[in-house]
């Protein structure tokens, strides 16, 4: 088994395994690149209940607009809110104002948002309707290891795999191009590579 054979097979099988992600990242870029105004989605209330929890206190002397309390404390509160609303998985948490804490639980089909109204000691959970455009763009933008859900973590692992896969396809593609016999493909390849690099540099310098 030659080196080129290994390169070709890796290129092929990795491509077949990660094919859905490649198509998804391509297709989901269409609504992102052709953004058009859309009506805001409908959220349906799925839970409303009395809720009391310790809210992180802003550190003394923290700058204006800083997140009150440490992010670990706020995440602990977020987890309490998730449990109270009977939602499991990863989430984002924020405190947009002193009277409210927000939790967003991403889900490709129907995400959930939970509001804790501190003064009213009340928790409200709402679920978004299925919106095809948001489903597709959600697949594109979801990532990161900080959400706190196991399967979100595994998804992030696949995002890394696709990124590394892209770099491997580029590298193996370059090797396969270079190994093609004859001068024609090499000359045209250099032309394509050089013109692409030139266009890229020009656009970046003008943007």
């Amino acid at each position: 088994m030659s080196f080129l054979h290994v390169v070709r097979r890796t290129h092929l099988y990795l491509g077949l395994f990660l094919l859905p992600w490649v198509i998804m990242f391509g297709v989901s870029s269409i609504p992102l690149n052709h953004n058009s105004p859309a009506a805001p989605p409908t959220w349906t209330k799925v839970a409303e209940l009395p809720f009391t929890a310790a809210v992180p206190v802003p550190a003394t002397g923290s700058p204006a607009g800083a997140q009150p309390g440490s992010s670990a404390e706020l995440r602990a509160l977020g987890r309490e809110m998730m449990n109270a609303a009977h939602v499991s998985g990863g989430f984002y948490v924020s405190r947009p104002n002193p009277r409210q804490v927000n939790v967003n639980h991403p889900n490709f089909l129907r995400p959930t948002r939970i509001f804790y109204y501190i003064d009213e000691q009340r928790l409200v959970a709402e679920r978004r309707e299925f919106v095809p455009r948001m489903f597709v763009t959600g697949l594109h933008t979801r990532g990161g290891y900080a959400l706190g859900g196991f399967w979100d973590w595994v998804w992030a692992l696949f995002v890394d795999a696709v990124s590394i896969g892209l770099l491997l396809w580029i590298l193996s593609g370059l090797i396969m191009w270079w190994k093609i016999p004859g001068t024609g493909p090499r000359q045209w390849g250099w032309l394509a590579l050089a013109s692409g690099a030139a266009c890229f540099v020009i656009i970046m310098l003008r943007l």
Partner: protein, 181 residues
């Protein structure tokens, strides 16, 4: 193959920036003062911030894609003039009749973040249009590579069994994720 060679810089950029974004490697932009100058133009009460910002950028010879925050109670206007390599922040102090121009410190991570997020046909500038066209080209290329790759694989009989196994596993895992998380 030639399309892939042409788009190599974009694909390297998207792959590297996705890795960085997935590991939340971005840091706040650090600005350093570039210039400060008197600016005597006055704007009528109620002038939309975007209109005022556009005028300021034009007067400073800094036209281009920008974002502007709502003015503060004293009328201070903060404009972010987008630039993929080093964005500028222009602050207009109407009470003091001056503008301050700051430039972001150049950093590779910030560049890759901005590169990944730059898209769309809304800005009326040629470079933005060219970028949006290149994004569309990458989209077409990715779908084309996926389909042409499938066809080339199917033509190689020896690779069919393992290929089917890889494709079915990939599709199964992807669909399971899309429907559940």
């Amino acid at each position: 193959m030639y399309l892939a060679l042409f788009l190599t810089p974009w694909m390297v950029g998207y792959a590297a920036s996705t890795l960085l974004m997935n590991h939340e490697a971005g840091r706040p932009v650090v600005y350093t003062k570039e210039n400060e100058q008197p600016y005597s133009t006055t704007f009528e009460q109620g002038t939309p911030p975007r209109v005022a910002a556009e005028q300021i950028l034009s007067d400073l010879d800094l036209e281009g894609t920008f974002g502007v925050a709502a003015p503060s109670p004293d009328g201070k206007l903060v404009i972010t003039r987008q630039d993929i390599i080093a964005p500028r922040r222009i602050t207009f102090y109407p009470g003091e009749r001056r503008v301050e121009i700051e430039r972001a410190k150049k950093d590779a991570v910030g560049f890759l973040y901005r590169f990944h997020r730059r898209r769309g046909y809304e800005p009326p500038f040629a470079a933005d249009r060219a970028m949006a066209v290149s994004v569309d080209l990458v989209i077409v290329a990715m779908v084309f590579w996926a389909l042409s790759g499938l066809w080339m694989w199917w033509e190689m009989r020896a690779t069919r069994p393992w290929g089917v196994a890889c494709a079915v596993a990939g599709i199964g895992i992807f669909v399971a994720f899309a429907l559940t998380i």
